[in-house]
């Protein structure tokens, strides 16, 4: 699943550390989510979206598999 976290962070001038504090996770988690290595839970995805005053769909881009 792709996401626009880096783009939104730059837009809102928020560092990874600041975002991690806002949503209550470690900075490593933000790095992992941002780079697409880890898909967050629905709750965390909601909290991240809320930090940018956006909806989940605006931050996370769900891509269906090609085989489907």
């Amino acid at each position: 699943m792709k996401n626009r976290i880096r783009e939104l962070r730059k837009l809102n001038k928020i560092t990874q550390e600041e975002l991690s504090k806002q949503v209550g996770v470690s900075r490593q988690s933000i790095i992992a989510i941002e780079s697409g290595k880890f898909n967050p839970s629905l709750e965390l995805a909601y909290n991240i979206s809320k930090a940018f005053n956006s909806t989940i769909e605006e931050v996370f881009i769900f891509e269906e598999e090609e085989n489907e």
Binding site: R9, K10, K13, I14, T15, Q16, E17, S20, K21, G24, V25, S26, R27, Q28, S29, I31, A32, E34, S35, K37, F38, P40, S41, L44
Partner: protein
Amino acid sequence: MEINIWGMIGLYGGVIGGLLGWWFGRQKARKNRGLDELYYHIWQKARSYSWYVTLGALYVFFTLLNFGIELSTAMVLGILLLTHVASWGIIGIILTINMSSAAPLQPSRVKVGLFVFITSIIVFTIISILTTNWLFLLFSIPPNLIALFTALIPKRKDSEVTY
């Protein structure tokens, strides 16, 4: 009945040391909001993978038995315990490093590292079985650590602190 004092100290001292390390590690992680869902994801994955490694070790032992090699219970249990706990910890560290870096791991370095790691384990296991001295397995730790850390730490180009 003869009690092996050093064996008991090593066995239970190891448990106490491990628990203390685990507890202090959690305390430190909690301060940085480290006990989050990624933390549990990583360590559950590591535990899961370590069972595959342990399963592989069990098959190696059964194969050795089929070749007629006699193995003592203490040696087999010791190696299985070491295999399980060490693979759990090492895989957890690898996953943590991989998740903490925006740069992906380099496949060529990973292949070389895993080749050195597996070769080292096999060579020192054979030496320890042939000499019936499991302490030879400890000699495999330095090359394994060097192989893992040179192969699995990705190159960091830029700091991620900036926007």
